[in-house]
Amino acid sequence: MIQARRLVLIGFACAALFPAAVATAHHGWSGFDTSRTLTVEGKVASVDYKNPHVTIALDAAPRTWEVDLAPPSRMGARGLPDGAIKAGDTVTVVGYPHKTEPQVLRAERITVAGKTVELR
């Protein structure tokens, strides 16, 4: 796994100042740059536990990422039912950035409370 970039949370105050609005876009898998694997650690600003896939807003200065996870059925089966990821949690996601929407990340795995869950 290539750790191309590591983004670390700077301050909770930033999160409070810039509440993220997670867009409801459904991003085609081909739109992501799989040659760039990013590892992003941040604080969950909001969780949208929905189909076709769960999304979270992840505050990791200087940006708030819109992270696409997996469908609720798979999230639940892998041990992340609704409520397992909450606003305020610090999580780490490994994934690929979108080619044209620089704030969008497709997560391959997520680490929540010390537990790493594969999403693909």
Partner: protein, 162 residues
Amino acid sequence: MTAAPAWAAWVEQSSLAQAIRGGAAFYPAIETVHILGFACLLGAIVVFDLRLIGLGGGIRPAALAAIALPVAGIGLGVAMTTGALLFITEATTYLRNPMFLAKIGLIGLGLANVALFHRRFRATLDAWPDHGALPAAARLAGGLSLLSWAAALVCGRLIAYV
């Protein structure tokens, strides 16, 4: 970008839309039935369209219509019902999606073609023979039907990729 209409935001916030969005099993089940529906529609209509164009000589058009068109109609009903349920989960987003809008336009074209075909040929279809070319307008309707339903399927698949 123009704002989504108020009704779209309203249906998206409805308890039904929220239940479909949030449930683990509901959404994939609806997606699956949606595919079953348009598989019946396309599968049946393609066979009938090809007969109109001129393939399948020896099969009496009315006999084929008796089985293919009800199957297509039921498939259409299933696909439209489940499609509406999927639509309301992200109504405002879909209304901004060019592939979704193209799909709806193509479905409209396909349905208009169906309506015109039935108005024109309902009375005479039963008398069409097993062999020989059908009226030019019927062949044209078959070709237009093939293209519009296939293109609607393609646009539907591409909604997630634009």
